[in-house]
Every structure is written in C-alpha cells, then in structure tokens.
C-alpha cells in the first residue's frame, strides 16, 4: 500500500505538471465584408493563463483583437496559455503562422516575448503590462517590440474616491492577486484616492497569492467584510470573481456591502452590489498599436503608456447604476485634476508616504 502511495504521489505530481499542456486554438475567420487587399494584416495573440473568458484582462485584450479584425480587416488568431510552459510554444506557433504582429498579454509573458523577439528579428511583437528596463533604468526593449503599460494607479485612485464616499463603516478593503509591484500600483493608487477624501478611513488589504483562485478571493473578501469593510476593490484577475460572490452573500438588508471591479466592466457579476469598475482599456491599446502597424506608423523599441489622459484608463459607464451622481461628479473633478497634472498619483510605498505627508490636514 505504501509503495502504491509513493507511486501515486509520483504520478500525481506528473499529472499536475502535465495537466495544462494542451492548448486550444481559437481561429476566427477573416471578416468577409472587408475589402480584399493585396496582403492582409495578420495579428496573433497569446493570452496568459487567465484565458479569453476571464471577464477581465485577457477578455479585454481579446476585444481589442476582435476590433482589429472588424475595423482593420485584419486576420486574427488567439492561443490561450494553460500554464507558463505554453508561452514559448504559443508564441512560436503564432510566429510560424505568419503573423505580422504577435501579442503577449500580461507581464508573465515578458521573458517569452523577449526570447521570441530576439529569435525572430523580422517579426513584430507587442507586450501588455511590461516594459523592459535594465537595472540602471535604461530602456532595453528589443527594436521589434512595443511595450504597452497603463497608469493603473490613476484609475485606482478614482475607485478609492468612490469607496471613500460610499463607505458607512469608515473601513474599505483591497483584494490583490499576487503581491508584486504591478498590483501594488493598484493598491497605493486606491489608498491615495481614499485618503484624498478622508485620511481617517481604514484600508484593509489581502493578497491571494494567485490570479485564478476565486475560492481564496471569496474567503479573503469574507474576512475583510467581517472586519467591517463595506467596500472592497480588487486587482486580482480571476481571483476577484470570489469578491463578487462574497459581496452578494455578505450583503444584508441593514448593511449593504459593495464590490468594485477591475480591468473590464464587471458590473454584471453582481448587479446589485457593484459600485464601479476601473476600466483598463487593454482593448484600445491592442487595437491602437495594431492600427499603427496597419497605417505604417509602427515604431518598435518603445514603451507606450496609457493613462486617464490617453483614454487607456477610465471608470465603467455602469458606475451610475449604484453610485450617486454627486459622487461621480466628484470623481470627474479628481479625474480632471489628475489629467491636468495637479494631482500626481503615487504608485509605490515611497511615493505613497510622501503623498500622505503633502495631503492637506483636515
């Protein structure tokens, strides 16, 4: 029996490591309505482990690709990655498939894109949420890659404003995926927004150590709601779906609790309990960069940053469903201040601390 258990454990480890090897292709026929050109633009995309139905980040990128298909008449192809080992394979499949531009969605694909770009100098690549810098802060993006990053802290700041105006318990929460600099940008932006309205509001935070574990997201949200938070904002991909489940279940007739979504408009996950979503228009960025290639305006080796000003970051149109107009007006005034540069939103612990020192005393 014990020998068997040993065998089983060995096999189980192999099984778990193999389980995600399969990859599935999602080819969409080129738009038949488009004028047949001499050479059709071909754009490929490899998602990270989230997949195109994550109702969040990858889903948004996929919408951008679909837009490139319908508006630019491009021929598009998507490969979903089941695990990190798939990144290289998927990228090389796309390159061999003759795509003019190949997208890697998510910081996790940074190394894979870098490698693919160096192996295929005649092909073009794009990566979302990552910029290549060396230790001295020098831009070392390969000449055939465009990096797309977002000022998530700006949108998170606006979500912080909404949370601070809507909380009745003077306690709000932040649910993060993995504790990395990218997600810290969301957290400090959010904290700054909360503090801008009322520095006395307590901000709880929890990290799930995963972007896919929605059960953990739910357990963490339950914990924060039970500790008095009545608004929770998340930046945790698929993990965050647990937040919406938790919000619905923890809402009582005498104590309503709220969730705030991220990346895509997540209103429909909990229509009665969602205040807003911070929209990160990966779709616009993917479309925009693809369009530059179509118009021969593509320039590699650069980092393109999208913020509130560039329309890459925004608040969800469904915000008005549960958030009073007065709050939205306040959010818009902060938005203008950020766009004009009057407010510089912190994105690291150090920047946040100095931001707090400069905050006018109330």
């Amino acid at each position: 029996m014990f020998k068997k258990i040993l065998v089983f454990l060995t096999v189980a480890v192999m099984l778990l490591s193999l389980a995600g090897c399969g990859k599935t292709e999602n080819t969409t026929a080129p738009n038949s309505g488009a004028k047949s050109e001499t050479k059709k633009l071909k754009v490929g995309m490899a998602t990270d482990v989230g997949g195109v139905n994550d109702e969040s980040f990858n889903a948004s990128a996929y919408r951008g690709l679909k837009k490139a298909e319908s508006d630019l008449g491009a021929e598009v192809k998507v490969l979903e990655s089941k695990q990190e080992a798939d990144y290289d394979t998927n990228l090389s499949t796309l390159v061999r498939g003759g795509n003019d531009l190949t997208w890697g969605i998510g910081f996790a694909m940074a190394n894979a894109i870098d490698k693919a770009a160096k192996d295929n100098p005649d092909k073009k690549f794009g990566i979302v949420d990552f910029a290549y810098f060396d230790n001295n802060g020098q831009n070392i993006t390969p000449k055939n890659v465009v990096c797309v990053t977002f000022k998530e802290e700006e949108g998170s700041f606006l979500m912080g404003v909404i949370a601070a105006k809507m909380t009745k318990t003077k306690t709000v929460g932040f649910l993060g995926g993995v504790e990395i600099d990218l997600i810290k940008k969301f957290e400090y932006g959010f904290r700054a927004g909360v503090a801008a309205v009322d520095p006395g509001i307590k901000v709880l935070s929890g990290y799930a150590a995963s972007f896919t574990d929605s059960a953990k997201g739910k357990a963490l949200s339950n914990s924060m709601y039970s500790q008095g938070a009545d608004v929770i904002y998340h930046a945790s991909g698929g993990t965050g779906k647990g937040l919406f489940e938790s919000a619905v279940e923890n809402s009582k007739s005498d104590k309503k609790v709220w969730a705030i979504g991220v990346d895509s408009d997540q209103y429909k996950l909990a229509p009665d309990n969602t205040l807003s979503s911070m929209i990160k228009s990966v779709d616009n960025a993917v479309f925009d960069i693809s369009k530059r290639l179509a118009n021969n305006e593509w320039k590699g080796g650069q980092v393109v940053v999208y913020g509130l000003k560039e329309g890459g970051i925004d608040i969800a149109p469904t915000t008005s469903k549960n958030t009073p107009q007065a709050v939205i007006d306040l959010v818009n005034s902060y938005k203008q201040k950020i766009i004009s540069g009057e407010i510089s939103v912190p994105k690291t612990k150090a920047e946040f601390d100095s931001y707090m020192l400069k905050l006018p005393k109330q």
Binding site: V11, N53, A219
Partner: protein
C-alpha cells in the same frame, strides 16, 4: 473578535464541504478494497457537469443531481477496470483523472469557446435554518449556509449509519478486510465493490458541484486543482472512518481559512500564510508515518479480488 472567529468558521466550512463529500466517497471505495485515486477526476467531472447544467437549465439542483450521476458513471469505468478486469487500481484512477480533465476542457472549448464557463447566474443559494440562524455571530456562519454544507453533515451521519449499523456496511467492511472469507460466506464481493466504487464517484461528483455552483460560480481548469487528492489525504488522515474524514476535512478547511484570514488578525499576521497552506499536508505525512495513532488501511485495500484463487 467574535465576528472574525465566526468568519473563520464560515470560511472553514466553505473549504471543507467539497472535500467532505469526496473523502466520504473515497472511504466507501477503500473500505470495500478499491483504491480510488480517480476522486480528483470525478470531482472535476462533477464540477463541470453541475456548471453546464446550471447554465443550460437554470436549475442548480438538477446540476447537483447530474453531477453525482456523472461522477458515478466515471466511477463505473473505474469499477469495470479495477474490479472486473483486476487492473492496477492506481493506474486506472490516474487514467480517470486524465480523462476527466481532458474531456471537461475539450467540452468547455466546444460549448463556450474558451477555457472557462461564463459566470453562473443560477447557483445554489444559501438557506437559513429558521431560528438557529439568528444566533449572534455564529448562527450566521453555521446555519445560514449552502445546502451542500448541511448535506455534507447529513451524508457523514448516513455514511456512519450505513457502514457500522447495517448488514450492508458489515459486508463492505468484510470485503475490504478479507474478500475470500466474505466470499465463502456467500457475499458477492464484486457487487459490493461495484456499489461502493459507484457511490464514491457519486459523492465525489457532488463534491465537485459544491465547488462550481456553491462556493464559486464558474468552472475553469483550476476549479478543482488537486482537491480530490486532498480529499484522499483527508480520508487517510481520518483513518478510513466517516467522522474521521469529516474531522480531517474540517481541519484542512480551517488551515485554508487561517491562510485567508490570517493576513489581517493579531499574531497570526506574522506567520507566513504559506505555512498554513502547507500545514495539512505536513500533518498528513506525519499521520501516514504513524505518529498520530496508527492509520490502518483496510487489509485488502488496493488488491484486486480473483475469485478463482
């Protein structure tokens, strides 16, 4: 503080419920002498079927029921291979895990065009037990819960009743300990094993459904992610008994819940959350090594029965 404890309790049940179903299933199978490594696959299949049926029909109860049926069908394959054809039970179970994972992913792409179901609008909703749910703090955590949570406790009691208080249970235990002796007194070893393996699949399938249409509201490749194996460990930790399995599952659930809540309370904040994630497995290894009492597997566990010899 009480509110935090209550949440801890609620989160513990959240994590423990699916494990309990699968662990009870594994217990039945192993008590009859068939190792069921396929619990993971049966849970995956159950979670998948429950998600699809709930989306298609809008009836989560039908989803739960058919999840059990799907798990049972998968278990029937395991029974045919390991009981009738006396195949290696571990190999058969592993094959089932691969198959369930591959099949559910394949169907997800066929039906939904991606590796995830959409958000399930019609999932199991929490039911409050009249009166008891009004107890301050803990009533909410214990008695305003998913129907699957109550079912897990009812099933544990039923499993204990069946295994120890009925002639059928006595036969199951006899077959698992000494099939030849059971056979000579006229017990149909194959029939008992078939029934137990199928029951294990049904329970594991329900356990899977408890995740996809209970705790969360979607099915993806990572929905089950090893919970079948954890259930197997819980059953061993619980020494192949119903109450032991329940206790081990609650313990494993509590470790997960501490991991989630520990980030914000008192002293626990200074313990790395990864420690709590590791704790259940560490203890299982210790239990297996025989440090916490003896963990005696049924004597004939994992051995195919050959009537001719």
């Amino acid at each position: 503080m009480l509110a935090i404890l209550a949440t801890l309790l609620g989160n513990t049940l959240l994590y423990a419920t699916p494990l309990t179903f699968a662990a009870l299933g594994g217990m039945f199978s192993e008590r009859s002498g068939v190792v069921n490594i396929g619990l993971e696959g049966m849970m995956t299949m159950g979670a998948f079927v429950a998600a699809v049926i709930s989306i298609a029909t809008g009836n989560p109860w039908l989803g739960l029921f058919l999840a059990g049926a799907a798990g049972g069908i998968l278990a029937l394959l395991h029974a045919v291979a390991s009981v009738t054809f006396r195949a290696d039970q571990v190999v058969s179970g592993v094959a089932i895990n691969f198959m369930a994972n591959g099949f559910s992913m394949f169907m997800l792409y066929k039906i939904f065009g991606g590796g995830q179901t959409p958000h399930i609008q019609t999932k199991l909703v929490k039911l409050a037990v009249p009166g008891l749910a009004k107890i301050p703090y803990f009533g909410e955590a214990l008695f305003n819960n998913y129907p699957t949570v109550y079912l897990a406790f009812i099933f544990t009691f039923a499993a204990w009743l069946v295994l120890y208080k009925t002639p059928f249970g006595l036969r199951v235990r006899a077959v698992g300990e000494h099939p030849l002796a059971a056979d000579t007194v006229g017990i149909n070893v194959f029939l008992i094993r078939y029934i137990c393996v199928i029951v294990s699949g049904v329970l594991a399938g329900i356990g899977g459904a408890a995740v996809s249409i209970g705790i969360i509201a979607e099915f993806t490749e990572v929905t089950i992610a090893g919970q079948g194996f954890i259930a197997l460990a819980a059953m061993i930790f619980g020494k192949w008994t119903p109450w032991g399995a329940l206790g081990a599952c609650i313990f494993f659930g509590a470790a997960n819940a501490l991991d989630a809540i520990g980030q914000s309370i008192g002293m626990i904040r200074y313990v790395n959350p990864a420690f709590f994630s590791m704790l259940p497995y560490l203890l299982t290894i210790i239990a297996l090594a025989g440090f916490i009492g003896r963990a005696n597997a049924p004597a004939a566990d994992g051995k195919p029965y050959d009537k001719g010899h």
